[in-house]
């Protein structure tokens, strides 16, 4: 205890001192903040400690790159799909929804959220688009259990009014090859040569016949 805090109650000093990190973090309630501030006004030692806390707080470690969450989401999706018996999402009983209305609920008619979703989220959720209800599209249905077929890197959906000619032209200009489709949600799986993915996506998205185009590249093939 220094001379500066001698006039103060030592227990009160220690109690405020213990709160300083959370005062610096803005994580105290109003009464605690008032108590700390009253003490700081008369305690130079606590002011020095607070200065340290503020500097430490300012030394924020960097956040991981923005795209890391997408890769993680794709991995988790695959784990969910790979072990449906053990890892399938649990549905609250009160809702009485069958388990298949989990991720697969997305694949039905409810596309609205995808329109509003950022392109990155769309990309991350892309594999689910293949797992749509409707006519079977083997072997790509069990995407979570099986890796995407070799060369399968893009998914595309054409506008409903697009003609077959326009669709063929869009595919030809993109440089991608058609692997499968249409899925139950009218999407097509495309293959593209390594390194051509971004250019193909740009061309597809710029094409008036295309409603949506996204990458299904595995994590190792994407920008780290």
């Amino acid at each position: 205890m220094t001379a500066r805090v001698l006039p103060l109650d030592a227990a009160a000093h220690r109690s405020v001192q213990a709160l300083l990190p959370w005062y610096a973090a803005g994580a105290l309630d109003a009464a605690e903040r008032a108590r700390v501030e009253a003490h700081l006004a008369v305690c130079a030692r606590c002011r020095r400690e607070l200065a340290f806390d503020r500097r430490l707080q300012a030394a924020q470690p960097e956040l991981p790159p923005d795209e890391a969450w997408e890769r993680s989401l794709v991995r988790v999706q695959r784990r969910l799909a790979a072990a449906p018996a053990t890892a399938a999402p649990k549905v609250p009983r009160r809702r009485q929804r069958p388990p298949e209305r989990g991720w697969r609920r997305l694949l039905g008619p409810s596309w609205g959220w995808l329109v509003a979703a950022p392109a990155t989220a769309l990309l991350a959720l892309g594999p689910m688009l293949l797992d749509a209800p409707g006519p079977p599209v083997a072997p790509y249905r069990a995407l979570g259990a099986q890796p995407v077929a070799p060369g399968a890197r893009l998914i595309v959906r054409f506008r409903p009014q697009a003609t077959e000619l326009e669709m063929r032209r869009a595919l030809r200009l993109s440089g991608a090859r058609l692997l499968d489709g249409p899925t139950g949600t009218d999407a097509y799986l495309l293959s593209i040569a390594p390194g051509e993915e971004l250019r193909a996506l740009e061309r597809l998205r710029a094409d008036g016949a295309v409603e949506m185009a996204a990458s299904l590249a595995p994590a190792r093939g994407r920008v780290p």
Partner: protein, 201 residues
Amino acid sequence: MLRRPRDDPRTPPPHDPAPERAEALLIARVAAREADAFAQLYRAYHPRLTRFLERMTRRSGLVEELVDDTLLTLWQSSDRYNGLSKVSTWVFGIAYRKALNALQRLDEPLEDAAGGEPLEPREAGPEARCGRRELLRQLEQALAELSPAQRAVIDLTYFHGIGYREIAAIVGCPVDTVKTRMFHARRRLRARLAGRLEDWL
């Protein structure tokens, strides 16, 4: 569900309850199996969990798996969130327990003042010898001398702005234990970083 610390039953004082309500609604939507809600939750928590688990475990090889496991648990167990705690308390609590279990499997001391292996060296170059990068390196070294439990308290406080009561709920210990961990951790950091933080700022 996480219990409230016995020695301090007061509810943590939220500065603005609106974001917390929004997050609780998001969890309800996840429980209703809305994948877009899960994507939103994912985007919000993935960076924070990554940083927290990196800081706590100091084992870069573990972090990705732990973050995935935590978020997978959120999807699978969202119907178990009962709204009595903040969503962040629930999420970080899951991550903390997973990290502790992983470190236990590796026989890492959890409470003692012993750090894990250093993280993979960050990019180093001539420009890295001074400035912020050098400060962060020194901070990492100082944090390495703390226990995972202490690092968790430091990280949740300084870098996530989480109050001590909420931290007590996250790590499942009394409030006084959180304060004691902070006291010892901060004293160590001050000793190791004396003068350096001031120089940097």
